[in-house]
Every structure is written in C-alpha cells, then in structure tokens.
C-alpha cells in the first residue's frame, strides 16, 4: 500500500505544486490520477519513486517511510513508464526491456525468457521485434515497449504517466484493454496518470481527482460519477460529456421534442439476400450475434425477416434458401416518424426491432432495443439527481 501523509511540494522557483496531499492507495488496484494539465499529477506520482522529495510530509510504501530506503534500490522495485515513453534509442527493443533486470544482475537466460514473454504479451512477436531499434517502431509499438519495460523486473508497484497519450483512439483503447486484462493476471499496484476521463472510468479501480495541487475527490469511477464532490468535478465530468454530445449531432435537437426514428436507428442492421443458403445464414447470425436476419433484395428493398428458429427448423434441407423460410414484417416505420412509434410497437408486440424504410420500401436502418438503451443513457446521463 502507498500512503501520502500531508505532502506539500514547493519547487525551487517558489511554485507551490502540491498542497496537503493525503492518500491511501490500496495494493493490487489501478489508481488513476486525473485532472487538468499542470495540476500536479506527475509531481505527485514522482514522489513515489523519489524522483521528487516532498518539501513537507511523508510517503510510505507498505508502512515504510521511503526516505529510509536507498532511492536507487527503491526505483528498481518500482516500474516506471514516463510521460514521453523514454525508450533508449541506442538500445534494441530487447535491451530496452532488459535494462532493469540487468541492473538487478539477473541471470542472462532468465532475462531473455522474460523479454520474450513480455514482448509476446503485448503482441510484438519477439523474433521480429527483439533486435529492432525504437526508431523503427510506430508510436503505439513504442508505448507498448515502454509499458513492458516497466514490468520486466516484476515490480509490485508500477507508475505510468500518461502512457497512452500519444496514441490514436483505436490503439489507445486496445492498450487500455490489454492493460486491464494484464492486471487481472498480475495484480500489481498501478498508479496511472491521465487527463482523459473516459480512460479513467474504463481502467480505474480508484480515481484521484486533482486540481491546482490539491486532491479534490477520491473514489471509484461509480462513486465519482454518481456523487461528484463539487462543481469542479461535475464540470470535469460534464465538460467531456458536452463534447461527446456535440460530436454526436444525432441528439442536438432532443430538447425541442421527441427524436425522430432517424436519430435513434442503427443504419447498418444485419441483412441478407433471399438466395442465401441456410447454413451460411446461420453462420452470419453467429458472427454478428443476432437472432434474425433482415432479408432484402439487391436494391435493398425490404422483403421480410428470417428468425433463427425458422432457419434452424429447415437447416437439414440443403435446397432451401432464406426466401423459403422468411416471414414478412407486419410493421415498419419511416425515418421521419417519431421514434416513439417504433417504441410503442416494440413494447406491445414484444418485437426485438422494427425495420426503417423509405417511401420506396427501401431498408435504411432499424430501431433495435440496443438503440433505445443508447438513447436513454444519452438522455439520462448518470448524475445524482436521477438516482
């Protein structure tokens, strides 16, 4: 467990970077420090491996005051992913990952095994990447190496300072997933700095929200979302949400009335041609995880739907195609209709979805239960008043 006790930090130039930081960071959990740029997240984190010493107050690891430990020894037991990756450009990937085990004078065979194991873990095949130099890797690959370098010596504590910041959203999500999966196996105490609320909510067991050198709120993502401590926290959560809203033009005019079907529908429901064989239809359903296919002709004119039970019922008959087993829809909506029309029908008939067609009976989308749920979560974001 990491414990901050009344930590104050004033930099040499007189800048008061931290004020009265008190924290208990439970072992084996992911703790995310979040807050606006310059609020002291990195400064707080660097107290843990003594890159920064407090002006006042103390930091403890497992009850031991860390000023009692030799800083070099201390740091070798704490993995560290710095804000700018910091791979050594003159060392190969394998050498970079092996730096700390070498400092700790591990057996060479053990080191190599560890390096290979870690590279495989983050999907960088060792045969390909071991002997490359950091300059030959993409930004995302470099950040992966930065992360596993911190894991190499099997530390109990890992500090990560905005480790995924330089990534495009897709690699970023991927690495977040990798990290949470990894954590299930390794159960380290991870301190993770970010200023992305979505990232924090996704990976954190515990969020530490900071502002101008002070801790404003500590809690699980759930607690912080449900009970933001003050306006700053609300704004910090809310601002992001506003941005999302703006990106999501779907709902811009929701306040002015009931959204239309167009705003709610999914525009790519799973469709199939009437000539499609039953086995391949089943396969498609499995792949897309749906229990019925909307059947359309090659102009996307709506023909009907084939529920999985109909398909299974005739599966042994190799001559049958979707056209033979499909049923026609008894109800459809137009994109301009209020979405409540679809909702009402789905509620009364217990229908899983309603197809959306235009004047020429061409399929343009579908209102599904999923789209309704998504709409509800947008309309009623998780804030305390609602709960």
């Amino acid at each position: 467990m990491i414990r901050f006790e009344k930590v104050y930090k004033r930099y040499a130039d007189g800048f008061q970077a931290l004020k009265d930081i008190n924290l208990d960071l439970e072992a084996g959990k992911i703790h995310v420090f979040i807050g606006p740029s310059g609020c002291g997240k990195s400064t707080t984190m660097k107290h843990i491996n003594r890159l920064i010493t407090p002006t006042e107050g103390k930091v403890f690891i497992d009850g031991e005051d860390i000023t009692a430990v030799n800083p070099v020894q201390l740091r070798r037991k704490i993995g560290y992913v710095i804000q700018n990756i910091g791979l050594f450009p003159h060392m190969t990937i394998a050498e970079n990952v092996a730096v700390v085990p070498r400092l700790l004078k591990w057996d060479e065979i053990k080191i190599q095994n560890k390096v290979n194991e870690l590279l495989s873990l983050v999907n960088l095949p060792p045969e390909t990447y071991r002997n490359r130099f950091p300059g030959e890797l993409s930004g995302g690959q470099q950040q992966r190496v930065g992360v596993i370098r911190a894991l190499a010596a099997e530390p109990d504590i890992i500090l990560m300072d905005e480790p995924f910041s330089a990534l495009d959203p897709i690699s970023r999500e991927q690495l977040q997933d990798e990290l949470t999966n990894l954590q299930e196996n390794i159960q380290k105490t991870i301190v993770f700095v970010t200023h992305d609320m979505d990232e924090a909510i996704k990976i954190a067991d515990n969020i530490v929200l900071m502002k101008a050198g002070e801790v404003i709120q500590v809690g699980t993502p759930e607690q912080i979302l449900r009970h933001p401590a003050n306006d700053f926290v609300k704004e910090f959560i809310g601002k992001k949400r506003l941005v999302e809203h703006r990106e999501n033009t779907m709902f811009t005019n929701f306040d002015e009335g009931v959204p239309s079907v167009r705003e709610v529908m999914i525009d790519k429901p799973v469709t199939a041609a009437p000539q499609r064989g039953l086995a391949s239809s089943l396969n498609l359903m499995e792949q897309r995880r749906v229990d019925s296919l909307i059947v359309v002709d090659k102009h996307r004119k709506l023909l009907g739907y084939a529920p999985i039970l109909n398909v299974l019922g005739h599966i042994s008959d190799e001559t049958k195609v979707l056209a033979d087993v499909m049923q026609s829809f008894t109800f459809s909506v137009k994109p301009e209709d209020p979405f409540t029309a679809a909702l009402e029908y789905m509620g009364q008939n217990n229908a899983p979805y309603v197809p959306v067609v235009n004047e020429e009976n061409i399929l343009v989308g579908a209102v599904t239960r999923g789209s309704i749920v998504r709409l509800m979560s947008e309309v009623y974001p998780v804030i305390e008043e609602v709960l």
């Binding site: 890159l51 050594f88 450009p89 730096v99 400092l103 300059g135």
Partner: protein, 217 residues
C-alpha cells in the same frame, strides 16, 4: 610534366624514408589526440555535471586554442625539451577544446526525458552516464575528435621547429634546399592524412546516430 616525372622518381628512391615520416607523423597525431580524447571527454563530463564550472574550463581551452601553434610549441619546448614529447603535448592541448566542447554539448543535448527514464528505473549517476548519456553523445564526441584530428595533422607539420619528426621534415628540407618538389612530396601526404581522418571519423560519427522518432507508417 618534367616535375611530375622527377617527383615519381624521387618518391621511388626515397619511399622508405617517406613512409617513416608518415608513420612518425601519424604516431604524433594519434598520441596527442588520443590523450586529448581521454582528458577532453572527462573534462566535458565535468562541464555537463557541474554547469558552473563549464565556462571556466571552456575559457581555458579556448585561450590555449588562441595561442599560435608555433608559439605554443616553443613554450612547451621550454618544459619538454626538443623532440617528440613537445609535439605530442602541443597536439594534445590543441585538440582539447573541440573535444571538451563537443562532449559537453553532446551530453547536454541528451533528451531530458531519457535521463528521467534512466533515473526513474533506478540507474546510478555512473550507470546513466555510461549506458545512456555517453552513447547518445557519441556522434558529437566523434565530431569533436574529427575536428581535433584534422587540426592536429596540420599542426604536426611544424614539428621540426621543436625537434620533432614527421612529414614536416620533408617540407623543411624542401624549404631549406629551395626544392619545390620536396615541399610537395611532404605536403601532399600530410593533406591526404587530414582528408582520410576526416572521412573515416565522419563515417563513424554518422553510424552512431540514433533517433526515437517513431516510424511514420
């Protein structure tokens, strides 16, 4: 045309002596520059570590550099006597500035985040220096070495003034006997040495460059 033929004939007759001169020349340069590489790198490290000392060290090296080479060799002769050691000492002093300055700049330009990374994962000051800073400063140090070597090859040609050997002997004999051809026979190999040193060290310098800029693909 006639002179070229004469020159070829002369070189043919005296190639053993010329080779000896070239060897002596190289030996003086290598000794002087090598000593400067060791001392200069150390002083450069001191400059980078103790920023306050840097201006003093660099100023002294600068002053040495300003002293005309003949004067410097003459002063050194007072202490080291005639011959090899005086020349080596002179070349050593002349080579210091580029090496100190480049080591200092090279260490200083190492990305601060790499130094933080090194500290953060538990390297001691010396480990950081040996494993991270010096390797990354290498292209700069090599550039300093290259400049020093080229200067030293040139300065070494005046070695005979203080009783030294090398290709300068041939040049001086040429001057004394008013024999232009012998001047060329001494000067051309000396120039070639400088060019070769420049090329070889320049190539080593480029080989030592690294970057972390991610691939853009």
């Amino acid at each position: 045309m006639q002179t070229l033929k004469d020159m070829a004939a002369y070189i043919g007759e005296n190639y053993d002596l010329l080779l000896i001169y070239t060897g002596q020349h190289l030996l003086m340069v290598v000794c002087g520059v090598f000593l400067a590489l060791i001392v200069g790198t150390l002083l450069g490290i001191v400059c980078a570590r103790f920023k306050k000392a840097a201006p003093f060290i660099l100023a002294i090296a600068n002053i040495i550099q300003i002293i005309p080479s003949l004067a410097l060799l003459a002063i050194l002769m007072v202490y080291f006597g005639l011959g090899f050691y005086t020349v080596v000492a002179g070349l050593f002093l002349y080579s210091l500035l580029p090496i100190i300055r480049n080591t200092y700049v090279g260490l200083d330009q190492v990305d601060q985040s790499l130094i933080e990374a090194g500290h953060g994962i538990g390297m001691t000051y010396f480990q950081l220096l040996l494993k991270v800073q010096l390797p990354l400063a290498m292209p700069f140090i090599m550039a300093g070495l290259r400049i020093a070597a080229v200067i030293a090859v040139g300065v070494a040609t005046i070695a005979p003034f203080v009783g030294g050997d090398g290709l300068g002997r041939e040049i001086f004999s040429g001057i004394n006997s008013r024999n232009d051809m012998r001047i060329f026979v001494g000067a051309i190999p000396a120039s070639l040495l400088a060019i070769i040193a420049d090329l070889v060290l320049g190539r080593m310098e480029r080989k030592m460059k690294y970057t972390t800029k991610p691939k853009t693909s």
